[in-house]
């Protein structure tokens, strides 16, 4: 009896050992063809994608595939199509067919680490994996379903979209458009011509925001932002039910418009005038004739609005 139990346990142990996933790693370098690599399109619905800019001209790709067994590993495909016009397309998928045993999506994974020329534009799509872009100079478009998006030290035109992955943009310079449906958005050290960011369910937190035109919007989340009012710029921060808190650096005259359940405009409260449309308006700083002051417009229909001037 005892022997039978031990044999059973050993068989179980062997089964567990067999359940250890199989991992395959590979590296590949793509040299530019006729033209330098201008654009890199990546689609990896099976795992993480990390894109890092560097000073070289080629693209270096590290792939890590993971599956429960060799058959699963064989189904995982990474395809690379370099085009003569300077675009490179990298896609991952899993082969299907009746000859294969069923394999749950959660049991397989492909992670990509890509080093690309800094001046290549990136167009990347992930699903539940983490999408990360670092040190690039030509911006890009990043989409995920539930995966996080992280961008650091990137310039150019940047667009990020996610359904439910939190988004973090740090040291991004250029024209930025970020949208999330049910996720939080974090912004740190942003500058450039335009920043438009919206979340539907989630909060927005920003600091060191210096873009000329800024629009931040959340339907039911709180927005806290530390920003600089740029000459002739515009800062529009709005939430439907969340609180809006803005810490503002000001070096030029500012027109402030605010509306909320409770509004506190700090030092500007002394100059506040109630408008007919229920907005409070205040002018801070002397506007020279013919000059256009920066506009700061803060609103929350069912939340509080607070503005603090900082030195």
């Amino acid at each position: 009896m005892k022997l039978a139990v031990i044999a059973l346990l050993l068989a179980g142990g062997a089964g567990l050992a067999a359940a250890e996933p199989v991992v395959e790693r590979s590296r590949l370098e793509v040299q530019p063809g006729g033209q330098p690599i201008k654009q890199l399109a990546i689609e990896n619905p099976l795992g993480d994608v990390k894109i890092e800019g560097y000073d070289g001209a080629s693209i270096q790709i590290e792939t890590r595939k993971l599956a429960p067994d060799d058959e699963g590993l064989d189904r995982l495909r990474v395809s690379l199509v370099p085009n003569p016009d300077g675009t490179v397309r990298l896609t991952t998928t899993a082969d299907g067919g009746s000859e294969y045993r069923k394999l749950p999506r959660g049991a397989v994974r492909i992670d990509l680490i890509i080093r690309a020329p800094r001046d290549a534009r990136i167009d990347a799509v992930a699903s539940g994996g983490h999408l990360e872009m670092l040190n690039m100079d030509a911006g890009g478009e990043l989409d995920t379903a539930s995966g996080r998006i992280s961008v650091r030290n990137v310039s150019g035109e940047l667009v990020t979209n996610t359904v439910s992955g939190d988004t973090s943009l740090v040291q991004v310079f250029g024209t930025i458009e970020a949208q999330a449906l049910s996720a939080d958005l974090s912004l740190d050290t942003i500058a450039g011509e335009r920043l438009v960011a919206s979340v539907n369910h989630g909060k927005i937190a920003g600091r060191r925001i210096r873009s000329r035109h800024v629009e931040l919007m959340s339907t039911d989340g709180r927005i806290t932002v530390e920003a600089e009012a740029v000459l002739r710029g515009r800062l529009v921060v709005s939430s439907l039910t969340g609180d809006v808190e803005v810490r503002l650096r000001r070096s030029s005259p500012v027109t402030i418009r605010a509306r909320g359940t409770k509004v506190n405009l700090g030092n500007a409260m002394a100059n506040v005038k109630q408008q007919q449309d229920a907005w409070l308006e205040a002018q801070v700083g002397r506007v020279a004739p013919g000059a256009t002051p920066a506009l700061v417009q803060l609103s929350s229909r069912h939340g509080n609005v607070e503005l603090v001037f900082i030195e």
Binding site: G96, Y100, D143, V163
Partner: protein, 244 residues
């Protein structure tokens, strides 16, 4: 529906767990009943307050202690015979089940406390403006790609093929929710602005219908969501499509 029927459902309603008619019935009652509205507002504030509690960072010494214990456990584990290690893989399930039971009991107690607390609220008239209770029914749908897959997609290849449809569903549900909020807000807009909003929606809907399935269509959905959200959040059609 009476207050006694609505109160027990408020938590589920605020958490977005009432779908379709069940949610709209509660919403309809909230529009008419100041007392229940008060309770709902209170409950939503409580929930928001709990969410807003600051995260406490553990002291760094804690991590050092954890690492030391992990190291000791690994050494002890390595000294065990193989069969004991195999057996140990199954053993932790028991405490997990016990912990799950405790969690379930705590959740039941919390729900009981909330509903009974709501029952004790005084029935007073409340003239404060009611924030729109944003039905989060679509939250689950919008998060679907993170966790759920269609029942038929039990293989990775089929599941991948369903990705685009799931994303489109998430966008469609969000757009539907925002349009419902916009319908409530439009009463405050002038006739001109209502017409401008309607015309823009026709244009955006047409763009979605004409876009090729996949990323192009998702872009069109996002444009519609951004516009309607702008109209709802800023309560001002003129600002909804603002492009500096």
């Amino acid at each position: 529906m009476k207050c006694d029927d609505v109160r027990p459902r408020l938590t589920a309603y605020l958490d977005g767990e009432l779908e379709g008619d069940r949610g709209s019935v509660v919403r309809g009652h909230l529009r008419e009943c100041a007392a229940c509205r008060h309770v709902a507002t209170d409950e939503a504030a409580l929930r928001d307050g709990l969410r807003a509690l600051p995260t406490l960072d553990p002291p760094s010494s804690l991590w050092a202690g954890v690492q030391a214990q992990l190291a000791a456990a690994e050494v002890a584990d390595a000294r065990k015979p193989a069969w004991k290690r195999a057996l140990a893989r199954w053993a932790p399930s028991a405490p997990r089940f016990a912990f799950g039971g405790v969690l379930a009991a705590a959740a039941i107690a919390l729900v009981w406390w909330r509903t009974h607390r709501a029952d004790e609220m005084p029935q007073v008239a409340d003239n404060r403006p009611t924030p729109p209770v944003i039905s989060p029914t679509f939250k689950a749908a919008s998060q679907a790609p993170a966790s759920a897959a269609p029942a038929s997609a039990d293989d990775v290849t089929a599941d991948l093929a369903a990705d685009a449809a799931r994303l489109t569903d998430s966008y469609a549900m969000t757009a539907k929710e925002l349009r419902a909020l916009a319908a409530e807000a439009r009463g405050r807009w002038s006739a001109d602005r209502q017409a401008e909003y309607d015309a823009k929606l026709v244009e955006l809907d047409a763009a979605i219908a004409q876009a090729a399935p996949g990323r192009a269509q998702q872009r069109a959905w996002r444009a519609l969501i951004r516009y309607v959200q702008g109209a709802v959040v800023r309560d001002d059609v003129a600002l909804a499509g603002v492009a500096p």
